[in-house]
Symmetry: C2
Subunit: 169 residues, 2 copies
């Protein structure tokens, strides 16, 4: 038998909406809720077909944030372009890699600061990057992380449709 002394989680408790004092607690809550906020934003974006952006200032330091689905679409475009060249040997892992590449590209754009190819409406939110710091970009990347699942779903859908393209009779 067991000693029955294994009380697991106590379950959620209600909290007041006021500044959290306990610092460690604040950090955890920040992480969880930021993730939740990004998820909700992504869902709203997909469900209603609208562009959504969320910008937060981390407690530690500077600002930063998540981009809209336009960015996601461009990632998908790049992926589909790549697969049509290489055949279908890229897998989901590769898709994730693609996303990470995108993240790097954005980061590099930040370093260049002279961004001229970024003038389109689609990247309005990226225009702010030349004002931002590296930490802020990390926030952005974190946001992209949160969207990976959605991207994956979208990509799979599009890829499946692309593969279903009928060959010439």
């Amino acid at each position: 038998m067991e000693t029955t002394v294994k009380k697991k989680g106590n379950g959620r408790k209600k909290i007041e909406i006021k500044k959290i004092e306990k610092k460690s607690n604040l950090q955890v809550t920040f992480s969880k809720r930021r993730a939740g906020l990004f998820k909700k934003a992504a869902e709203l974006s997909v469900l209603c077909g609208v562009d959504v952006a969320v910008i937060v200032q981390s407690p530690a330091g500077n600002i930063f944030s998540s981009g809209g689905p336009s960015a996601i679409d461009s990632i998908i475009d790049r992926y589909l372009a790549a697969t049509s060249q290489d055949g279908d040997r890229k897998n989901n892992m590769e898709i994730m890699k693609e996303i990470e590449v995108h993240e790097k590209v954005v980061k590099e754009n930040k370093d260049l600061k002279g961004i001229s190819k970024m003038g389109s409406e689609e990247f309005w939110w990226e225009r702010r990057f030349d004002d931002l710091d590296v930490n802020e970009l990390e926030e952005y990347i974190a946001a992209m992380e949160g969207l990976k699942k959605n991207v994956l779903a979208k990509v799979q859908e599009l890829a499946a449709r692309a593969n279903a393209a009928p060959p010439p009779p």
Copy 2:
């Protein structure tokens, strides 16, 4: 007895995260979720003491969004300034009025378009207003509505502190 034939709401059902086709449904979902998103953003802001902004593009048309707590702070400043002039005869209803005034001011700024006093970092998000339309401002106002409770709490706290200022001995 009753005929037991009064099936009320069926309750929430799970939905896929994909673009909603039924237009009426989309409109409802957009409204609800946008409100929810703003609420979550406001909570994150208060709980963690960080600046949060949400920007969404309405399905109907253009962009717009909700501002960070900096805006709230400025509202509080204005309120405290007003109360120190008029004594303490303003009540909570008046505070709400103050907020509405602020909303109008923003709207007017939109019409002026030449905004020069808005150059500070604190109002970065307002800089976009000259690109926006009236409908978008209404969205902004709706967002402010959602934050009124937080403002009220904050104002009461600050007002109490102000009133507690010790008279010269």
